[in-house]
């Protein structure tokens, strides 16, 4: 039942499409559409068909368009920009493909200055998309805003010159043909060719029109009988003139249109390529940094402007800068811009140049977001060079694409973290179980011996008592060591942030560790061989001491009495090396690989039957690696084991 209603809901889901234009009253239409979208609780898309006329249009026109675009976006619309001459067709196609149920357009009274007068957009829409509801909102000022195309005089001069040259060339050729006795048809063809060439070479239809008229007149003047007069004897000539004029004009118009489409499709192809590349790069990028890098550089490629990208997750708001082309980014005043960026982060709304907020800035800032979640802010240098509508559309796509990628990355990371956390919890649970188990033995011995001494103390001879005291003491020392290792292990597992690093002399650390072990060293002699250089390392001293204590205690535990334990400090280039070598039985090769694993207790029988948690060496490795070093175990000559670790040396600059 429920599934059924869901299905119905899905089927009846509305999707509203609103036409964007540069009309001042377009805002009213957008607002109406937004209200409808709200009432229907459905998505809203704003579409703009970028025509060649728009690109050539005035800056005012474009600015108005951007205003409308911003408005639509702030009302929650997705912006789509498509290209083409035929706005109605493009809109209808888009509507059909993306499942739009209602189209909201303004009633435009624009009379298109084309050869064939086109019916109104709304009428065309009705023809192209009969199955879609079309809501027409009156748009009174539509006619007044549509300004004439801008042309400037150098352009006119150039075009006129070109047209004249081509025309003169055609006429010369025709004169030659005429002298050679070719027929009129050939001459007409040459003139038509001239008109086509003119329309390709010039930037406006008016030139090919003029060229057509001129061709007909000159043909009449020069080549028809009577020559050198605009009269024509043959009755068929007027028809020839008309046909010639129409043929020239129509081929010319097509050539122009083809040229425009070619340049448009080249641009579109470039933008599509950037979008496609962006998708590819984003899918390959790993981690937030790479994603931001990809987004920044792709936007840079698209716009060829200076770009700054701010990471939403960073507290310090340090941007990544992407200078345009020449590789230099003139001083970006971070302190000044910070306020805008934090405003964008806080309000999830664009700001900076060309917007209502902080318009004094030379940068325009966009929020990279998915729904209400903001992942980053992209700043684009505007500097009185506003973005083109087409660029704008691709930019918004890249931003949306990027934000989605950031969201995916974040989700993946969170999932990974959750998995890691679960694993760590599992480890912790294991650890706890093993510890509780292993604690029982020494605690039983301590409490048993103590209670024995309390209640039966008088029955024991002095030697027995001494033995009991020693057992209590050694068991409690074992517990103390265990607790130290556990504390260090929690510290290391919580990650780098908990390391309290300071720069210390390595030999001081070794001395302290040796001092710590002397009490339990028994019959072993610990020898330290210091290095002549002063070896400084940056480390969490307590953890590093723990490493040495564990290594020394292992050597004490697993090697026969009277054998020496040697600790050697050496300098290995940029690393400081410590070796702890013993003369014991050594580590069998099959154990060498796994000896640093957690809870690994080795296959050799433990000399004094002392329990081992298998935590010590695991911890050593974890600590050394947390300090960007490494630890290995090797064989000593002639017998025994060598634990060798290296840590990066720290350069110390000192003041006298």
């Amino acid at each position: 039942m429920e599934a059924g209603t869901d299905y119905l809901k899905e089927r009846n889901k509305e999707h509203i499409l609103v036409g964007l234009s540069s009309s001042p009253s377009n805002g009213k239409i957008i607002r109406t559409a937004a209200r409808m979208a709200e009432a229907f609780d459905c998505p809203l898309t704003a579409i703009f068909v970028e025509t060649p006329a728009f690109r050539k249009g005035s800056e005012d026109n474009k600015a108005r368009f951007r205003e409308n675009c911003n408005l639509a976006e702030s009302l929650g619309a997705d912006i789509e920009i498509v290209y083409g001459d035929d706005a109605a067709y493009q809109i209808a196609e888009f509507a059909r493909l993306s499942g739009v149920s209602k189209i909201v357009v303004g009633r435009s009274n624009v009379v298109q200055t084309r050869f064939f007068r086109k019916p109104a957009l709304t009428d065309q829409l009705l023809v192209y998309a009969p199955e879609i509801d079309i809501h027409i909102i009156p748009d009174k000022s539509a006619r007044t805003y549509y300004d004439s195309r801008q042309t400037n005089s150098p352009d006119i001069l150039k075009n006129v010159l070109k047209s004249l040259l081509i025309f003169a060339g055609a006429t010369l050729l025709c004169l030659l043909f005429h002298r050679m006795g070719f027929t009129d048809a050939n001459i007409i063809m040459v003139y038509i060719l001239g008109v086509v060439l003119t329309s390709v070479a010039t930037s406006h239809q008016v030139y090919s029109l003029m060229s057509s008229v001129a061709s007909v007149l000159i043909f009449n003047y020069l080549f028809t009988m009577p020559r050198f007069s605009f009269a024509a004897y043959e009755t068929g000539y007027p028809l020839t003139f008309v046909v010639m004029f129409l043929t020239a004009l129509i081929t010319g118009t097509f050539a122009i249109r083809y040229k425009e489409q070619a340049s448009q499709s080249a641009k579109t192809a470039y933008r599509t390529k950037i979008l496609f590349d962006t998708e590819q790069i984003l899918s390959k990028a790993e981690g937030k940094e790479e994603l931001l890098l990809a987004i920044g550089s792709q936007i840079g490629r698209l716009l060829n402007r200076n770009i700054v990208v701010f990471d939403g997750g960073r507290e310090d708001m340090r941007p990544v800068l992407f200078p345009a082309g020449d590789g230099k980014l003139q001083a970006y005043d971070l302190e000044r811009e910070k306020e805008i960026v934090s405003w964008v982060f806080a309000n999830n709304h664009r700001a900076g140049a060309g917007t209502d907020y902080y318009s004094w800035s030379s940068y325009m800032y966009f929020a990279m977001r998915v729904n209400e979640r903001i992942y980053g802010v992209v700043g684009i240098e505007v500097n009185d060079r506003p973005l083109e509508a087409a660029e704008y559309g691709v930019l918004l796509s890249i931003l949306g694409e990027g934000a989605l990628a950031m969201e995916n990355e974040k989700n993946a990371r969170e999932k990974e973290e959750a998995a890691l956390w679960a694993e760590r919890e599992q480890l912790r649970a294991n650890l706890l179980r093993m510890i509780s188990h292993d604690l029982r033995t020494p605690l039983t011995s301590i409490s048993g011996h103590a209670s024995n001494l309390i209640s039966n103390g008088s029955y024991f001879d002095e030697e027995t008592k001494q033995q009991l005291y020693r057992d209590i003491y050694s068991d409690s020392i074992w517990l103390i060591n265990l607790v130290e290792n556990l504390l260090s292990s929690t510290k290391i597992e919580e990650g780098q942030i908990n390391l309290r690093k300071s720069t210390e002399l390595l030999s001081d650390i070794v001395d302290e560790a040796v001092e710590h072990c002397r009490g339990s060293s028994g019959a072993h002699e610990i020898r330290v061989y210091d290095c002549d250089d002063l070896l400084f390392v940056r480390s969490d001293t307590k953890l590093l001491i723990q490493v040495l204590v564990n290594l020394i205690n292992n050597a004490i535990k697993y090697t026969p009495d009277q054998t020496p334990i040697e600790i050697r400090l050496t300098s290995q280039g940029s690393m400081a090396q410590v070796t702890v070598s013993d003369r014991g039985p050594g580590i069998p090769d099959e154990d060498k690989a796994s000896i640093f694993e957690k809870f690994y207790c080795g296959s050799n029988p433990i000399a004094d039957s002392r329990r081992s948690l298998g935590l010590g060496l695991y911890l050593c490795k974890a600590i050394i690696e947390a300090h960007n070093g490494f630890i290995v175990v090797e064989d000593n000559v002639p017998c025994g084991a060598v634990f060798r670790f290296q840590l990066p040396r720290e350069e110390v600059i000192f003041h006298e």
Binding site: T503, I509, D511, E512, G519, R527, L534, V652, F654, E656
Partner: protein
């Protein structure tokens, strides 16, 4: 029979028992207080020779106890800290404590600290009259001539090393924090200078303790500071 009297300020009963039984076994006189305020009262009324002070007291911060006691007496204070963080030890030492112990500590460690402090106590007697020549084992410092001898041989120290050695010798037995040394040798306590301090201390020790495996004269307390030990 030890004539020194020790004040133990510790609220934790088992640890207090451990300390007092150890002291009793070694024939020390002791008095005990289980709060900071009681401890301050006793320090004032009984005039002990050494104070053992736990930093984690129920009624007030250990550093505050040190501050109050230091307002009228230089009685050596050894602090006992359960926390393994260095910062509270440094705070206690900077407030005027002489030495520190970290829990869990062994009985031997406690007794060793007491012995060091006692020796320091005996040297502290002629307080206003500093001898012109300082002797510690084979080490001899002639303050008036500015010369340092190890046995018969004169050591060639740089001015900074000499100044360091003087500050350490004048505070023999006391743990001096990095900050204290920086302020008294360099006249600054710029954090970055700790590195310089380590370098000079390392070269000084190389000169003092040539060929020995274990530090005899100068003890390093990693992350905290240095101390000159009395050498027999």
């Amino acid at each position: 029979m030890n004539k020194v009297q020790i004040l133990v300020i510790e609220d934790d009963e088992p640890v207090k028992n451990l300390i007092t039984t150890t002291l009793k076994a070694r024939d020390y006189h002791y008095i005990a207080a289980d709060s900071g305020s009681a401890g301050i009262m006793m320090a004032a009324s009984k005039n002990p020779d050494i104070i053992l002070l736990d930093l984690g007291l129920p009624d007030m911060d250990g550093v505050e106890v040190i501050d109050r006691v230091r307002s009228w007496t230089n009685t050596p204070i050894i602090v006992i800290s359960a926390r393994s963080e260095d910062s509270d030890k440094i705070a206690a030492l900077d407030a005027g404590a002489d030495d520190y112990l970290t829990k869990p500590f062994s009985v031997e460690e406690l007794l060793a600290r007491l012995r060091v402090t006692q020796r320091r106590l005996s040297l502290m007697q002629p307080e206003n009259e500093r001898p012109a020549v300082f002797c510690n084992g084979d080490l001899k410092i002639d303050y008036s001539a500015g010369c340092v001898f190890m046995g018969e041989e004169e050591l060639h120290l740089t001015p900074i090393e000499y100044k360091l050695l003087c500050v350490l010798s004048q505070n023999m037995g006391k743990v001096l924090t990095h900050r204290y040394l920086l302020e008294n040798v360099w006249g600054s306590s710029w954090e970055n200078d700790v590195a310089s301090l380590r370098v000079f201390m390392a070269t000084l020790r190389k000169k003092l303790e040539r060929g020995t495996n274990r530090p005899r004269y100068i003890q390093t307390h990693i992350g905290i500071g240095y101390r000159m030990l009395k050498v027999e």
